[in-house]
């Protein structure tokens, strides 16, 4: 959409002892893009995201997020990003409204802004009737949508979504992607990981990770054309099969289910 680079990674690597979880990955994400990070479980997607969000120190390579260096400026990065982790991580024993209030306060939003955005989120998600219900009592799909809204609460420039749709039903998944598009139209850059290969079609561009490396990167149409496959799913299975360690290959086969 614009030429501005939101995320830049070059040779980014992370090792745990002898194990290399992320192995020299390089890519750029333009501002406003919806960028998909595809891969089997254990392919290194989450490790990559944790490095970019400043949660994990990289072992080697370079990266900037919103122009801030991932080694030295992690706290500056945190002001400009939103994050939704693989595990549901809002507080179960707080109500919907209290969770929004908490994160609004942490991001220094004014009370008026928090009130206004709380209303907007509740009505957009249709959660008005459970606003004072403890989060542990609402269904998983609602929780996930709430978590996404909270990650977007302070209108970050970039939002990282780590497998946001795992375990939710197809209808909720669709609604979820509508929310992602809304954020993207608002100018937010979205980096989303998934192991549902059909979701790749929703992304502007995707990268497919296999065994810590980026095996393919481009728009879904480009990838299908250059690799001569019918779908991203087919490409994925093909790439995973070539993985010398065969790591995660079994999981990849059934990933589109």
């Amino acid at each position: 959409m614009s030429d501005e680079v939101a995320i830049h990674a070059s040779g980014l690597t992370r090792t745990f002892g002898a194990f290399t979880a992320v192995d020299h990955i390089s890519f750029d994400v333009g501002a406003g893009e919806v960028f998909g990070f595809l891969g089997a479980n254990g392919a290194g997607k989450t490790t990559a995201i944790r490095m970019l969000t400043g949660l994990l120190a990289p072992s080697a390579g370079e990266a900037t997020v919103a122009g801030h260096d991932v080694y030295r400026e992690t706290e500056a990065i945190k002001r400009d990003i939103g994050y939704m982790s693989q595990r549901f991580s809002l507080y179960d024993d707080l109500t919907v409204r209290e969770n929004i209030r908490l994160y609004g306060g942490i991001y220094d939003l004014t009370d008026a802004t928090i009130r206004e955005r709380t209303q907007r989120i509740l009505s957009r998600l249709g959660l008005q009737h459970v606003e004072n219900t403890l989060v542990h009592a609402i269904p998983l799909g609602w929780k996930q949508k709430l978590a996404l809204s909270v990650a977007l609460l302070h209108e970050p420039r970039i939002v990282f979504l780590d497998e946001p749709t795992s375990g939710v039903d197809p209808i909720t998944r669709r609604q979820f992607w509508e929310l992602i598009y809304e954020a993207s139209h608002g100018g937010t850059t979205v980096l989303v990981t998934t192991h549902y290969m059909d979701e790749a079609e929703y992304c502007d561009r995707v990268s497919i990770m296999v065994a810590g490396r980026i095996a393919a990167i481009g728009t879904p149409a480009e990838l299908e054309r250059t690799h001569g496959v019918e779908s991203i799913d087919e490409l994925f299975v093909q790439l995973a099969r070539n993985d010398p360690n065969a790591r995660g290959a079994a999981g990849g086969g059934g990933a589109a289910a």
């Binding site: 400043g54 949660l55 994990l56 945190k78 507080y91 991001y107 220094d108």
Partner: protein
Amino acid sequence: MSAPGSGSGAARRGGIRRFIRRTLVLAHAEVLHVTRDRATLLQIIVMPLVQLLILSNVATFAIQRSPVYVVDDDRTSTSRGLVSRLGASGLFDVVGRSSSPDSANEAMLRGRITLALTISHDFEADLVRTGQAPVALDVNTEKGAAAGVVQSYATQIIGAYAREIAAGMHPVPALALRDALPADEPPPIRGFGRVDVRFQDWYNPTLNYKHFMVPGILVALVTMIGTLLTAQNIAREKEMGTLEQLNVTPITKAEFITAKLLPFWVLALIDLVLGLIVGRLVFGIPMRGSVVLLLAAAAIYLVVALAIGLWISTTVDTQQQAMFVTFFVMMVYLLMSGLFTPIASMPHWVQLLSELNPVRHFVTIARAILVKGAGLREIAAPMLILTVYGIVVLLLAIRQYRKRTA
């Protein structure tokens, strides 16, 4: 919000305001967590009070009706007089008598008696002849501290009986002189004078063990609860995954630690105040010094105790580990704090080591203020140590808390 470099004073004010607001927002959430967890809340409030009520009764070395066995080989009125004085004191219960030492020995081996008194055959005759006679006291040291107390009581009763006999043998001069003198003045005796020792038990004239133990147990309970709760807290957030969500926000380490500390600090202070009220109403513990000063000292001390908990919590990965580490830290802290056994009885090097124990300092402060009526000047030294301790541990906890995994 202010751009970097534009008016650092305004930026700092903005920074402080932001610090306070974020801290309060996070602390508020923490309060909600605690108040919604009824079981934990009950443990925090009720458990210490119940324990205070029960355990304060345990901690006493005082003895009442301690079982004693008498081996009376003399069987004269004088020897029987001594035995009856023991029973009449209310401190001893003569559970058996015989003329052979074997059954006394048996009772002692079985742990049924704390004391065996043996009066030998010539007791009365010796007293009459020489004015002096021995008796044997066998103290069962297995009974621990009670043994020392029993021995001291028995010695006193025997001494009093000797004086009674002396008065009976020489009634006339003593009585005549006593009538001639003012009531307070003990009778002068011909020859060299005597040293008349008057004992004064300061701070605890009734020798009530509860006055000593209640403040100590209260400190122990508040410390255990505060440290446990904070030690568990961050570890729990690590396990639940909620910590990661906080770690990707711009919240600073200092804000995070302060917000974690604040609610438990208030809770622990509430616990302490409740405990003091119970201590006062139920056990009648003295409050000779200023309660305000005590609370001020507690405010500083609790920062130390809670920061230690937070420090533990930042270093471990699971609640389980947090529990075990806290358990051991607490055990060492409590047993070496002078709470149960006097610091002065410990070897010199342990006394030095115990200077590192914050519980020791606060136990000292609490007892000095409540029991001895000490003021700020008298507790200045331990207060200073606690303040330095608090700052150091807090900084350690803040430093130790990692928003990013290395």
